[in-house]
C-alpha cells in the first residue's frame, strides 16, 4: 500500500469522529482498516481515547449547586427590585421624549416670535432656544449619574451578592 493511502486513512479516521464521513469514504476506510494493522491500531486508539473522554466523570458537591441557586435567587430579587425602581424613570423618559417631539416646533416658533418682538439677532434667540431645550436634560442626566454613583439609584451587586460567602 502506498504512503498516500495510509495518510488518507489517517485523515479519515479523525474526520469520522469530528465531521463525519460519506458512505463511500466509510466503506473505503473500513476496507482499508481490515487489511492494515497500523491504521487499525490507530483507529482503535482513537475510538478508545474518545470513549474514555466520554466516560470521564466529575464528582459534584451538592453544596456548591445549592449555593449557586441561593446566590442566583438573591441576585434575581435584586435585579427585579432594580427594574421596578427604574420603571418610573423609563416612563418619565418616554413621556419626555414624546412631549419634546410634540412641543419643539411650537417652542421654536415662540422663541422666534420673542426674538423678533424684542429685535434680537437670530443667533441670540436660537441660542436661548438651544439652552431651554438642552439644559434640563443635561441637569437630569448629571443628577441621575450622581445618584447612580452614590448607589442611591441602583442597588450595586457588591451589596448583596457576596453575603452568603461570609
Amino acid at each position: 500500500m502506498s504512503r498516500n493511502t495510509h495518510e488518507r486513512a489517517e485523515r479519515l479516521i479523525d474526520r469520522r469522529h469530528i465531521e463525519g464521513l460519506s458512505p463511500a469514504e466509510r466503506q473505503w476506510l473500513d476496507a482499508h482498516l481490515e487489511g492494515c494493522g497500523a491504521c487499525a491500531e490507530r483507529a482503535h486508539l482513537t475510538t478508545e481515547a474518545i470513549a474514555s473522554l466520554r466516560a470521564v466523570a466529575v464528582p459534584v458537591n451538592p453544596a456548591i449547586v445549592n449555593l449557586a441557586k441561593a446566590r442566583a435567587r438573591m441576585r434575581a430579587a435584586e435585579l427585579r427590585r432594580r427594574d421596578e425602581r427604574l420603571r418610573p424613570l423609563w416612563i418619565t423618559c418616554a413621556f419626555s421624549c414624546l412631549m419634546m417631539l410634540l412641543t419643539t416646533p411650537c417652542f421654536w416658533r415662540a422663541f422666534e416670535w420673542v426674538g423678533q418682538t424684542m429685535r434680537l439677532p437670530a443667533p441670540v434667540w436660537q441660542a436661548g432656544f438651544l439652552l431651554w431645550w438642552s439644559v434640563p436634560a443635561a441637569v437630569a442626566a448629571i443628577a441621575l449619574l450622581w445618584l447612580e454613583r452614590s448607589g442611591r439609584l441602583f442597588n450595586g451587586r457588591g451589596e448583596g451578592a457576596g453575603t452568603l460567602e461570609g
Binding site: 469530528i18 473522554l53 464528582p59 456548591i64 446566590r71 435585579l79
Partner: protein, 187 residues
C-alpha cells in the same frame, strides 16, 4: 427545542428565580465539567461556576433564544475566565488554565461494578485523566465540547469565539495530541 429556548429567554429577561433553579439543576454537571476541563483546577472552576450563573442572570436579556442555551451558557463561562485572566496582569488564559500538578481535576467514577471489562475501562479512563490535563487548554476545550458535550461544530466555534475552520483545526490537533499523550502514557 426552539420553543424551549424562547421560554428560557423570556424567563431570563424577567429574572425568573424558578427558571434559574431549573437551569442550574439541569446544567450544573455539564458546566462544572467544562470549567474543570478548561481550568484544570477544581477550586477555580467552582468559583467560576458560581459567578457564571450570576452573569447568566445579569446578561439574560442578551440571550435571544435562537441559539442553544448551553452554547450561550458555556460562552458566558469562557468569557468570565478570560476576564479573570485579564485581571491577573500579564497572565494569559492559557496560563490561568494551566493545570496544577498536585491536583487531579478529572476523577474516575468511584462506584463501578468490579468486572474485568470495567476495570480495563477504568484503567483507560485513568490514563486519560493523566493525559487530558497535559494538553493545551484550547485543545482540551474543543475536545470536551465535542466529545463530552456532543456539541455541533458550529456551536463549538460559537462557544470558543472562533471561526468554524479554526474550531475544526483545533479538534484535529487536539485529537492528535490526545492520542500521542495516551500513547506516551502507555509506553
Amino acid at each position: 427545542m426552539r420553543q424551549e429556548c424562547a421560554e428560557i429567554a423570556r424567563g431570563l429577561r424577567k429574572h425568573d428565580p424558578d427558571l434559574l433553579d431549573r437551569l442550574i439543576e439541569r446544567y450544573h454537571y455539564r458546566l462544572l465539567r467544562y470549567l474543570i476541563s478548561l481550568t484544570g483546577d477544581r477550586a477555580l472552576a467552582e468559583d467560576a461556576f458560581q459567578e457564571t450563573w450570576l452573569h447568566v442572570l445579569e446578561r439574560g436579556s442578551q440571550y435571544n433564544g435562537r441559539a442553544s442555551f448551553e452554547s450561550w451558557l458555556f460562552s458566558i463561562a469562557r468569557h468570565l475566565l478570560i476576564d479573570w485572566s485579564r485581571k491577573k496582569k500579564g497572565v494569559s488564559l492559557e496560563a490561568l488554565t494551566e493545570p496544577d500538578d498536585d491536583r487531579a481535576p478529572l476523577q474516575v467514577p468511584a462506584e463501578q461494578p468490579s468486572s474485568l471489562e470495567l476495570v480495563a475501562e477504568r484503567e483507560e479512563t485513568e490514563r486519560l485523566a493523566q493525559a487530558l490535563p497535559s494538553l493545551p487548554a484550547v485543545y482540551r476545550e474543543v475536545l470536551v465540547l465535542r466529545f463530552q458535550e456532543e456539541m455541533k461544530l458550529e456551536e463549538i466555534a460559537a462557544v470558543a469565539g472562533v471561526t468554524l475552520s479554526t474550531a475544526k483545526s483545533r479538534l484535529y490537533r487536539g485529537l492528535e495530541a490526545l492520542r500521542r499523550s495516551i500513547e506516551g502514557g502507555r509506553g
